[in-house]
Symmetry: C2
Subunit: 338 residues, 2 copies
DNA sequence: CGCATCTTTTGAAACGTTTCGAAATCGCCC
DNA sequence: GGGCGATTTCGAAACGTTTCAAAAGATGCG
């Protein structure tokens, strides 16, 4: 493998070196039909000799870039790393390359900028974008959305069983004798009722289950602000209320970490039940030992990537993958003292 | 903002709508010199009406894509998220967009694929690639390398004070009465002596300090295999040795988490001193409470991005940023029992 | 008012691929 | 050996921008 230096080598250089036309080289590198063994060999030799690599830009302009985009709202959220890992695995071995686009500010911009010709398809985790807008995006470029509970026609979805998962948590806590159960979730924007985001569904389910159990008046909801660390502050708030909860259901493991931190910092570790969601690697750590719902993040990421690849193969009817949710009981969900 | 549908709208459409030439539109969208207010207004109106967005592919082919690439070996490593976060912040507000490229397998491929016209510049965290190869890459496209202790001429570097950080840890442990101090680090490939990777330097510094202290025969080195979870296995090995260490210096916080896990799982939490590196958010968690070295990961990411932007502005002489390392003492570094 | 000097606008040529129809070559059979 | 399909190769036209030199239009000055 020779190392390219100076001005980059183009398909014309290869064609010239091999003594064939540009079209011929193009066919060889794409494994297209209709190229004789002799020609293939000469072209490949020239490619090797010159260290030629096709320009993604030129390819993208003409057709496809062989890049898949994964848009992520929060790079540091533990759940996201599961998704990324899964998607990466699924894409490995295909001619496609995965690129991640961290959203900064409004997700629309990030998605647009991906759609602007950088990638051939998009996996997005964007609870806040408008479904109609997404349908439109799906018309321009293949799209798979993660964590959407609606039933779109123009793109695919990968979604967890947020109802089942939340119900499992609640049942578990009831079994442990808890009644005064609070829910600590994400900011308002991400949990708006009817919006169909995972956290909206979890919140709604929490409400429903509490009400079904005749505990409607014990419903307590707290939110963390956008900065991750503020889960601690929200927990402090909860615990300072006149009738503090005996159990806190956190929207996901990262929030639960904040809850555990606050409880531990006030010397009450083990006195209040805490549950998370996503079963991140932290939850399994002996020092954290967090009861959590496993919704197979890696599998979700992998499925999303696979579905996107299918769309690139030509599938047009929408598909949906629904991951199962299973409760992982660990030490953090302590029995109610009452 | 109207929503694009069907075939995408090109610069020609805008030109036609506005009744000007393509070149004129191009100038407007690039804020180039020599466009009258009247024309600017008409063009901008047309852009708005049509919902035009320039094609990245076409731009890239012609000059720049306004994308910066950040290559990351392990998306789930906590330290990486600091870097990403920092780089994201630094790029925000510039006309550039950050894209992340998770390396799968050999980093060469990922870097090449970034250089193939996708991005205008590259930030890389690739301990394993050959310096000469990198110099060559740097000749084709601006490059900033994170965690390189060499002094390249063709690209910039951002590096931590691995010697200082490691010395601070060792001094701290000596002060606590430890002598039998083990080092648990990354696999062989990443710590080869003289390779100049952060972990190679930390390992070397550990060796040096131990030797200086006359404890050369107490040097104990363990490695985790590539799977993150295997830090636990490596710890178990260490603790099963005839003369087990009283303190374990982990290569970074993620490894330290495994060490803590194993120690806790065997019911010996608090009996063995543990230190990490990177001062990730976990280290500060009350339940983890890990002594660690803060090397300002976010700042490193931000500096890397800034330096890359400078290069895109035209700077050519190499620069280097060296982050400071400060020890964060926490509960995990317990006093030696002996 | 004519000419020189600026400024604004334009046309056309890149950039490096893919694609499509046409040209060339080959093998085979009558 | 001429004719005919099938195969292999090629030339040229896209794709959507930017750029550069040149055209056109203002402006100022003598």
């Amino acid at each position: 493998m020779s190392i390219t230096k100076g001005r980059s080598v183009t398909i014309s250089d290869v064609a010239q070196t091999a003594g064939v036309s540009r079209a011929a080289v193009s066919k060889v590198i794409r494994n297209a039909y209709g190229v004789s063994p002799a020609m293939r060999e000469r072209v490949e030799a020239a490619i090797g000799e010159l260290g030629y690599r096709p320009s993604v830009a030129a390819r993208a302009l003409r057709g496809s870039s062989y890049r898949l985009g994964l848009e992520i709202p929060h790079v540091s959220a533990r759940f996201m790393t599961q998704i990324m890992e899964g998607a990466k695995q699924a894409v490995a071995g295909t001619p496609y390359q995965l690129v991640l686009a961290p959203a900064h500010g409004p997700e629309y911009d990030t998605l647009e900028s991906l759609a602007d010709g950088l990638v051939d398809g998009i996996i997005a985790i964007s609870p806040l974008v408008d479904p109609a807008w997404l349908e439109d995006l799906g018309r321009r470029i293949p799209v798979v959305m993660l964590g959407r509970h609606d039933h779109p026609t123009g793109y695919d979805t990968v979604v967890g069983d947020d109802i089942g998962g939340t119900r499992a948590i609640m049942t578990h806590l009831f079994d442990l004798g808890h009644r005064r159960i609070a829910h600590l979730t994400e900011p308002e924007a991400v949990t708006r009722p009817g919006s169909g985001t995972p956290h909206a569904v979890r919140l709604e389910t929490y409400r429903t289950v509490m009400t079904e159990a005749g505990l409607a008046d014990l419903i307590q909801i707290a939110r963390r602000e956008d900065v991750p660390d503020l889960a601690r502050a929200a927990t402090a708030d909860l615990l300072a209320r006149p009738e503090p909860p005996t159990a806190i259901v956190a929207g996901h493991d990262d929030i639960a970490m904040g809850v555990l931190a606050e409880i531990a910092a006030t010397g009450r570790h083990g006195e209040i039940a805490v549950t998370g969601y996503d079963n991140t690697d932290l939850a399994a750590h002996p020092l954290i030992d967090l009861t959590s719902v496993d919704q197979q993040g890696m599998e979700m990421g992998a499925q999303a990537a696979t579905m996107l690849l299918e769309r690139l193969q030509g599938r047009t009817e929408p598909r949906r993958y629904r991951a199962t949710a299973t409760l992982q009981v660990r030490g953090s969900s302590v029995r109610s003292a009452g």
